[in-house]
């Protein structure tokens, strides 16, 4: 976009949801379900987690009611990955030749993505951009980001340089402000600007902008205790390939793969071949895989990375070292999901510091 119009104030989310639905999008946003924040299809803002916040620490996540914010929680177990890179897709059926299914890419508006989620999408774009199916699903997304106000105790986007404010890669971005409760909204794309212009809105005042800056300042300060120096990490991790620390981590790691599956940038997949019992037609399915599964590197019946230490090393080294070799950026965006959702509570930031 050529010129950035001033952010405007929205008093409620419902008109946005309605406008997006009328615009042909399935609107997906945060809801409270079974004790966690989950993305689900929304028909109104009433389904949002208003007044809920989370407490996260390694291996632990709890929701509690506090405050009045709609987006007063940090990264949820869901990320945009499910929508751009679904857990399971049929690649083709084969009956004397391939029969490709339509790419399932319904226009979807994702509401509530954070700066780290946007950064993760940018990372995915670089890794999976060669895939036409990925591009189709990606192009079908309308992204409504929210500036992060309440990072959790595991977040470290400031260290990775990815947040907490949404800077780019969105159609719309909101800053949620209180007293009075309102959203400062800015467009990041033409279509975002169009939607915004059509919504009931008010002009913003300098005080609103100041309040928004304050949100980011407070959020940044919350992550200060966890801040670490990124410079040199790539080389240090590569140099630590034979460190005894990997073995020590492996004694705690369950090799369960939770960290990789929740990570918004982890992209590994496997394929499964099958035959239909009734008509004998063959089918090939692609599904999420993880460098933690035993057979991932199987070669001639034996895995190359047989030990848990080798598998943990692969995961951490990829995120902070070899990803940079391959794509010129880090594979981690600092969302902390892998830390919270690791049942053994392994904190990769802590491990990183020990490896340096």
């Amino acid at each position: 976009m050529d010129k950035q119009p001033n952010p405007v104030l929205l008093d409620a989310l419902d008109p946005l949801i309605t406008a997006l639905r009328i615009g042909g999008f399935r609107v997906v946003g945060p809801t409270v379900r079974d004790g966690v924040i989950r993305f689900a299809e929304l028909s109104s803002a009433a389904e949002s987690p208003t007044g809920w916040t989370d407490a996260q620490e390694p291996g632990r996540y709890r929701l509690r009611q506090e405050g009045e914010l709609v987006f007063g929680y940090a990264a949820s177990p869901d990320s945009a990955k499910r929508y751009t890179h679904p857990p399971r897709t049929t690649l083709f059926r084969w009956d004397k030749g391939p029969i490709e299914p339509e790419i399932d890419a319904p226009p979807t508006a994702l509401i509530g993505l954070r700066a780290c989620d946007l950064a993760a999408l940018a990372v995915q774009d670089r890794v999976l951009g060669g895939s036409a199916a990925y591009r189709a699903r990606r192009a079908a997304l309308f992204l409504v980001a929210v500036d992060c106000a309440t990072p959790s105790a595991v977040c470290f986007c400031t260290s990775m340089g990815t947040g907490p404010k949404a800077e780019a890669g969105f159609d719309l971005a909101l800053t949620e402000l209180s007293e009075p409760h309102r959203f400062l909204a800015r467009a990041g794309s033409e279509r975002g600007a169009e939607i915004l212009a059509a919504l009931p809105h008010r002009a913003s005042a300098p005080a609103d902008l100041a309040a928004a800056a304050d949100v980011t300042r407070t959020a940044t300060a919350r992550m200060e205790p966890r801040r670490f120096e990124l410079d040199g990490v790539k080389e240090q991790v590569a140099a630590a390939r034979t460190s005894p620390v990997w073995e020590e981590i492996a004694s705690r790691c369950l090799t369960c793969a939770n960290c990789t599956i929740v990570c918004p940038t982890c992209f590994c997949t496997t394929v499964e071949d099958g035959t239909d019992l009734s008509d004998g037609a063959a089918e090939r399915v692609e599904r999420w895989d993880s460098c933690f599964t035993f057979g991932f590197t199987e070669l001639g019946g034996e895995p190359v990375r047989a030990s848990g230490a080798a598998r943990y090393r692969q995961w951490l080294s990829h995120k902070f070292s070899t990803w940079v070799d391959q794509f010129g950026e880090y594979g981690c965006v600092g969302c902390g999901r892998c830390v919270t959702w690791c049942p053994a509570g392994i904190d990769l930031v802590e491990e990183l510091e020990r490896l340096r």
């Binding site: 083709f92 895939s131 992209f267 090939r284 991932f296 090393r313």
Partner: protein, 271 residues
Amino acid sequence: MTLEMTPIPYRVRSRRADRAESVTLTLEPAEGLCPTFEPGQFTMIYAPGVGEIPISISGRGRFGGYVQTIRAAGAVSRALCRIEAGDLVGVRGPYGTPFDMGASAGMDVIVAAGGLGLAPLRPVIRELAAHPGRYGRLTLLVGARTPSGVLYPRELARWARHFDIRVTVDRPDDKWQGPVGLITHLVDQIAIGPRRTYAYVCGPEIMMRATADALVRRGVPAGRIALSLERNMKCGLGHCGHCQLGPLFTCVDGPVVTYDHAAPLLEVPQL
């Protein structure tokens, strides 16, 4: 619409069971022409309903198509070995980095193959043999488990016109008169001018490392030793993650790499 993960139907033009417990297929697209390839590249071959595996391209068929040699190692390769002339399989590719034929121009060339490693080296050898003037001394070292495990025996005889060929086996039979033992012994036996030698190596990983190390010991720079890595591959596109070796996705950054890049990676156990 054809997506990158969807194989294209290829017909088995001919099938030959090799002495070496492998099967050599010539595959042609059911429609249209098959893309060009460079020595060292591979395709993903799909046995419908069974699975898809990477197989190196060993050459062009007489009427076009890819010649590919497959050994029955597991379920998918077994299914491919059972396939008959006229059957359809799926093919994606060619993929991967090739052996750099320009890099060895004007030099002595050593080609070292262990077992099935001769399959991806066949186009290299043919290229060298086709332009003998372009290169210096040509040496072909072949290691096999048994005498009958030596691939392409008839062609070997033909290549002898251009190459100094030496074959060694692990387990000789009664008729075997040649050398017995590791291919590295052959490296030690040949004359090498280290500053004007280029080597193409393919075989099991330990064989490649031992051969490359032996060459390095003889003074050949690691940057002039090309080898072809083998890793678990599901996509061939750098999307599935399985074939990663340190900073490399073996399917797109490899399989062919030079030893200066590979050595520090292969040294680390379970990388």
